[in-house]
Structures are given as structure tokens and as C-alpha cells.
């Protein structure tokens, strides 16, 4: 592997050297990956898969025009470099505006607590088979299960005309274990999830979490649907993270702003987005998280980027291009899901910083409200966010009351951020299966973190 790493680095160095004069910017990425995955569905081991991929992506920038090529026939790499340059030449008619960075040379090795590649396939199957059995035996109302796991090892090379030449090894692993309970015509699922970039150990000793997910599925299938309407809402740390991601994170991605005069007004640094208790940041530095990385996919060192500080907008997530055009600093947020895609502005671990409230303080004044817990995912179109909680509880007279199902929350991003009126001190980092989708690139591993928060009012979908 060491030889391969060095060989490809040299190849990229030569290609960049040879062709960089023709371009304002030239970048070549290569990737080699191996993945194992398994899915139990009910009693069956539905699939056990092994995947190997290799390929590359070239981007050339000439006079503001990009020429790009992706390929997996590595023997023809130079022809794709030429193709990208030709394409860029053809459309470049303006000026290239790219943030300038210092070239970086690095060889980033893995630093693992437990390496999934040292385990035989059989051991992984056995581990997850045990969890699957545990779910299926947990309760008579549990009729099925879904247990999924994957691990992926990647070697990534990136070289560009700033002089950057990096090879990085990366590990990504994640999974979800879901219990499906059926009661008459209704069925409901509840799961527990995990993820890591440095430790297979996170998959062990999850029996307690699995037991709890089973109990939740059984309770949920008997629970009534939430009644739709507008409520004060308290959300748990996991949903808070998703809220930070959907309601604000996407808006702070530089490519949503950099070419729109209207958006530049909306997203002007210093604008008040929330009350002084609100702090939001996005970081690539969370060791062990699925969102951890030393460099982004443009070879820029990653960082912790403050986005909202004491309620005011202070930053955004940039690629070289968006930073260049906005005359701001790149933030190490340009990410590509694989060699098939270009790097674009993406989140890493998006967090709402801790506050000072306790959970009891948050709910004690709510006469009728909803406590929404964990998540089945979220979505945004910039102005409106929507997410689905895994379960909910009514809050009645300052107390947590009955469980309710089908809790979806929606609201206007700008209004809702200002309606956050209490932030808990119980900050939690969360890694989960799944990932973020944007521009055809999904699932990109991200993480979300935060404490409990209270929103004065949000629309809850229901019937």
C-alpha cells in the first residue's frame, strides 16, 4: 500500500506540473475504496456485500470556466486531464476568482482504536445477528427487524496547482438497528444508530440501546397520532443537531450565497439570526466522528467554523471558489462524496452550542406542547425546514405526558431560529447511519450535535 500511495502521488505531481501552465487552477483526485456491508431483515440475512471501487476526478479552471472529468479507467488519466482543460478553455471567458491557499504536502495515516478490517466477515455477521435476534425476541408485538451495517476504507489522493499533494486514508463505519412493531393495521419502527471514523468498538455492547429501541417501538405502535397544529416544542439533543443542520447549516453553505445579491443581503455577516443565547458552529475537528477530517477534498485544512455567535451571523462554509468570490477565507468545507463528484460546500459536524437551562426548566411553563425525540431525517429548501421526529410526547401542564407518533415539524428557518428561547446544558455529539444529500451527492457522512432546546412555536403535522 505504501508503494501505491507514493506511486500515485508522484503521478499526480508530474501531471499537475506538466499541465498547470494551461490553467488558472488544476486539481486531480484519485480514490480507491473497499466496503463491506450487511443487512438483516426479519430473520433473514438479506444481503452481505463487498464493494471495490477506483476512479478519479479532474477539475480545470480557465478564465472562470470549469472543465471537469470523472473516470474509473485509471490507465487513461492524462487524457481526462486534457479533456478537462479543453472543456474549460472552451467556455472560460471571464476571470477566475479562487481563494489562494498555500500548498500542503502530507501523508495522513489512519489512527484507529479498533480496525474493522482485522475482523473476519463471520465475526461481523455474528455480532449483528445477535442484535437482530435480540430485537426479534424482545416482544410479541415486534414482527420484524432491520439491522444494517457497513464499513468503508478509502485511500484518497489530491493534488492541485497550489502545490498541494496529499494522500489520506479514511475509515467510515455506521449502522442502524431497527425494531418494527405491528398492532393490527398499524406498524411502527424505532431504531438505534451508531457511527465512527476510528473505532469498530462503537458497534459493541449496544444491548441496552437495542432493548430501549424495542420498548419504544412497542409503545409507539400503541400511541395515538399527534394532533396537527402549532405548539411550543422542546426537542432533544439529537433533533437539535438535525435542526442545526437543516434549519441553518444549509443556508450557511457559501454556494447558496456567493452569486446571489439577494442572498448576500439576507446572509450579511453581523445580521441578527437569533437571541444572544444562540451559538452555532460547524467543525471537522471532532476526532472519531464520521464528520472528522484533516483536509477537505480541495486539500484545505479543516477547522471549526463559527457560524452564529451570540445570535449574530459570523461565518459561512466555503470552498475555494465561494471564498474567492466573496473575498472570505476558505473553511475546509469543500467535500465530495466520491471520485464521481466535484467538491462542493458541505457541512461537517454542525452544532448548536450548549446553554444553561435544565430540561425541567424548559418544560415547566408549557401548558400544552410537544416534546420531540430523535429523528428519521430532515430536509430544507432554504427558507422552510421540515423534519420527522422518531417519537414524541405531549407536554401537559409542565409535565411530560403521553407518547404520540407521526410527529413532523416544520417552520420558517428565520422565524424559528429567533423563537429558540431556551438552550440546555446537556450538549451531546451524535454520529449516526445515513448522511446528507445535496447536488446528487448522498449519503455524505456528517454529524450533528447539540443540547435540548425549546422553540416557542412550530407547526406540527397531523390529522
Amino acid at each position: 500500500m505504501k508503494e501505491l500511495k507514493a506511486k500515485q502521488r508522484n503521478l499526480l505531481r508530474e501531471l499537475i506540473q506538466k499541465h498547470k501552465e494551461a490553467c488558472d487552477y488544476l486539481e486531480i483526485r484519485l480514490e480507491q475504496s473497499a466496503e463491506s456491508g450487511l443487512v438483516f431483515s426479519g430473520k433473514e440475512l438479506e444481503s452481505l456485500t463487498q464493494k471495490q471501487e477506483q476512479g478519479g476526478y479532474v477539475r480545470a479552471l480557465i478564465k472562470g470556466g470549469w472543465g471537469e472529468a470523472s473516470f474509473n479507467d485509471l490507465s487513461q488519466i492524462e487524457s481526462y486531464v486534457q479533456q478537462a482543460i479543453q472543456s474549460a478553455k472552451r467556455i472560460g471567458k471571464g476571470t477566475s476568482q479562487l481563494a489562494s491557499v498555500n500548498g500542503v504536502e502530507d501523508d495522513v495515516a489512519l489512527d484507529l482504536k479498533e480496525d474493522p478490517r482485522t475482523l473476519a466477515l463471520e465475526e461481523k455477521v455474528k455480532l449483528f445477528s445477535n442484535y437482530n435476534q435480540q430485537i426479534l425476541k424482545a416482544d410479541p408485538l415486534i414482527t420484524s427487524s432491520r439491522v444494517g451495517y457497513f464499513d468503508q476504507h478509502k485511500i484518497l489522493w489530491i493534488a492541485n496547482s497550489f502545490g498541494t499533494n496529499i494522500v489520506q486514508e479514511k475509515l467510515d463505519l455506521a449502522g442502524r438497528m431497527t425494531a418494527i412493531a405491528t398492532n393490527g393495521k398499524n406498524s411502527q419502527a424505532y431504531g438505534t444508530t451508531f457511527g465512527s471514523s476510528n473505532n469498530f468498538g462503537v458497534t459493541r455492547n449496544l444491548e441496552k440501546q437495542v432493548t430501549k429501541a424495542c420498548a419504544d417501538a412497542v409503545e409507539l405502535v400503541k400511541a395515538p397520532k399527534v394532533k396537527g397544529g402549532s405548539y411550543p416544542v422542546v426537542i432533544d439533543p439529537i433533533l437539535t443537531g438535525v435542526f442545526a443542520h437543516e434549519a441553518f447549516g444549509h443556508l450557511s453553505e457559501g454556494d447558496n450565497v456567493y452569486e446571489s445579491e439577494q442572498m448576500k443581503q439576507v446572509m450579511k455577516l453581523g445580521t441578527e439570526f437569533g437571541r444572544p443565547i444562540l451559538n452555532i458552529f460547524d467543525t471537522g475537528l471532532t476526532t472519531g466522528s464520521r464528520a472528522y477530517m484533516k483536509y477537505d477534498d480541495e486539500g484545505v485544512p479543516t477547522e471549526e467554523t463559527p457560524l452564529i455567535k451570540e445570535g449574530k451571523l459570523v461565518g459561512r462554509l466555503h470552498s475555494l471558489e465561494t471564498a474567492g468570490k466573496m473575498k472570505e477565507k476558505p473553511t475546509g468545507s469543500a467535500r465530495a462524496m466520491s471520485y464521481k463528484f466535484p467538491p462542493i460546500c458541505r457541512m461537517r459536524n454542525t452544532c448548536i452550542g450548549p446553554g444553561t437551562s435544565s430540561f425541567e426548566e424548559m418544560i415547566k411553563d408549557i401548558e400544552l406542547g410537544v416534546y420531540a425525540v430523535e429523528t428519521n431525517g430532515g430536509q430544507t429548501n432554504g427558507e422552510i425546514f421540515a423534519f420527522v421526529a422518531s417519537k414524541g410526547y405531549m407536554i401537559r401542564n409542565g409535565q411530560i405526558a403521553e407518547m404520540v407518533r407521526d410527529v413532523s415539524l416544520s417552520g420558517n428557518v428565520f422565524e424559528t431560529l429567533k423563537k429558540i428561547d431556551a438552550i440546555g446544558s446537556d450538549y451531546t455529539v451524535r454520529d449516526a447511519a445515513g448522511g446528507c444529500g445535496k447536488g446528487g451527492q448522498w449519503p455524505l457522512p456528517t454529524a450533528e450535535s447539540g443540547p435540548h432546546i425549546r422553540i416557542e412555536s412550530a407547526v406540527v403535522g397531523g390529522v
Binding site: 431483515s41 452481505l48 418494527i180
Partner: protein
Amino acid sequence: MKKIIQKALKKGADQAELFVIESKDQGVLFENGTLKKIEGSQSQGGALRVLRNGKLGFATTTDFDSEDSLIDQAIAASEFGSPFKFDFAPNAEFKELIPFDPQIETFDEEQMLNIGSQAISHMKAYDANILSSCSIGKSIQTISVVTSNGCEESYDRSYFGFSLSGQLVEPGNFLENYDGIEQTRIDFDLGSYLSSVIQPFRQGRKNISISSGKYQVILTPRALSGLFLALEQGLNGNNVAKGISPLKDKHSQKVLDERINLYADGTLKGTASYAPFDDEGTPSQKNILFQNGVLKNYLLDLQSAEKLNMYPSGNAMRRNRLYMNRDYLELPSPSINSWVMDGGARQFDEIFLDVKEAVLVDQIMGLLMSCQVNGDFSGTISLGYHVKDGQVTGRVKDCMIAGNIYDLLSEVHLQEISQDQRWILGAHGGTHMLPTLFLKDIFLSTK
């Protein structure tokens, strides 16, 4: 390819199946009103499934020089699988369906740039404040399925994609819309997409607030394609076989309103899902799902068909679960190719004129997370309008719709189906031919 199958058998597989997709793509992208990039890609990938002692193993690769490792990995994976009883595709008769438009060869960057420039200038001319983006692309693909049971088939596919979007940001108001098409033929009518993308900018700049309650709801083809995610889960042969679909024991029974005729159709010439066979080598067909509201069939791949003792329906697809594009990295599973639904008696315009008060829903956000196998869904209306006396009065925001797809499509809620249908880019991938539905008594939650 045959060599890999034979080698797999020699290494211990009882049956083997190789799916290979090779693709050459070209495209141009206009972003925020300017020409941004030209891109090209070359890709090849293969997926091998083996059955050994009834156990299934799956492996994929992009590098066919390492075929031994592909085979070894698939065989290794088949050590642990659960026993399945099904066979890979046999040698079968295929209808002469050729999803290849020869014009694709000469459809070049110049033409793509031309279409894009026209689209962008049209948007700018309508309103310079609307930021528009447009992508045009083509692809030439070869898709092959070879099995140890005698299936040895391959077809070339041309593919043309166009999408256009516009975004307007005004104080307190974001308005976005998109439209486009994916198809195997090249020709298309740019004009119809231009007017479709612009429509909300004509009608949706004024916001109307409504209170929570029951409304008449008009679902456009695009909104309907989103809600059909819930229906697809119920029709999915795997969910039926597992016993978790509400349709599991409803075959040949009336489930929906008798005006509903719904198909999954892979035989419509020129459309994106037009192909001689599916991703397991089963011949494409017009799969009748509901006829006069009666459940006639499910979406079935080889495995679920075997379990249910039915015939595979040509609906096995290998696709990315979020973007629904074809992906050899995924195992085949029952999936919708194109929803096709019959229209009703009256034209949309005629029915619309009779509307007293309604909410017209065109885009719903959050369905991917909320749709459940039991048919329940819940989502945020991200593009919708208030309608009064046959006229759009403005845009409705901060409004959620929730319910159950089987109820929506029953006599309880279904009022009328428009006669006119339209090919649309599905809210969650694919292209579909759907009418507009007029529904009554739908509960909407608002702030």
C-alpha cells in the same frame, strides 16, 4: 462476461448473475445565470450475485482486471446468507424495445450550450431578479445481464436530461421552482418547461395565510408522485412477502376508488424507463397495479415473486435510494420505473373553474422521511397556492399536509381526476405520467 460466470461456477457457485453498466456522459451546467462548466465522465461497474446452497453473495467492482477477487468476495459473502429459493433469469424472449435514439451521437456540446443559453436568457428576460440554473446532459450506456441460467442480454441506451430551476429571494420570501425531463429520446419542447418553471413566479409572490382545518386539496402530478412513495412501499413485493404491507392479502380486491387505474410501465417508447428488460434480466412490461381500484399486481423482482408464488413483473431495479439514479452498487429490488395513471372525464381547466375554495399543492417536502409502509405520510407544503372561485389568490406557506395514501385514493377523499396527464420528473426520481387529483376534506395544519 460469460467467462466470469463460468469461473464463478467453477469456484463453487450453484448459480451466478453478472450485471454490467458502462457509461459515457457529457453535460453542461449553467449556474446562477452564467455558464459554469462542461463535464464529461466515463464509468464502468459490475455487480456479481452468486447463489450457493441457496445462499446469496454480492460483490461489485469497477476494475474487471481483478475478476478473481470479485468472484472470491461474492463467494465469501455467500457463506453466511440466509437460504433463498429463487433462480436468476433464464433465457427469455424479449420484445423489440430499443431505448436508443441515434440522434444522440450527433447531439453535441454546442447544442447543449444553445439550449442552456436560451433557457437562461428566457428566465432573465422574464425577471432579472430570478437566479436561474440549468443543466443539459447526455449519456450513452450499455447495460448487460448474463446469468448461468442462459440469460445473456445487453442493450444500448441513450439518455437525455434537462433541468431548469429558478430562485427568487425577496424580503421574507424565498421562491424556488424547477422542472425538467429525463428520457431516452432527444427531442423535447423547451417552451413548455420555460413556462412551467416561471409559473410560480407569476402566481406565488403574494402570500396568503390560512388557518388549520379541512380543505379541498388539488394535487398536481408532481405532488402526487411524491405521495406515491407511500404507495410504492405497500406495492413493493418484498414488503408484501414480509407481511408488513397493508396490501398483503388484498390481491384481486377493491382497495382504491374505482376510477383509479394505475400502472408501472417500462414499455413506453422514448421515456426514461423504456428498456427491453429490468436489472435482473426480466422482460419489461406494462404492469397493471390497480384496475378500477382493484389490486391486480405488485412490484416484483425475482426473489419476491418466488416467495409469493407469482411472476416477476419487470420491476427489479438497482438504484441509489435517495436520488433514484441507476447504480450497480445497489442490489436489485422491486421499484417503480414509471407511474402511469389514467385520466378522468374532465379537463383540469374545467374542473378548476368550479373550485370554490381549495389549496393547490405542487411540492411537498419531507416525504422521504415520513412515508411509511402502512401508507401514512406527513410533509410540508413547500410550494402551494390558495384557490378561490377558480382563481389562484396567492401562495400558501407554513402549512403541513398529513394523511394516509390509501384514504386519499378512496371514495372518502377522491373527488375527481383530471383528464389531462403530464410527464413529470418525479419528486423522488424517475419520470411519471400522472393526472391532477381533486380531493376533499383534507386536514392541513398551519401556524
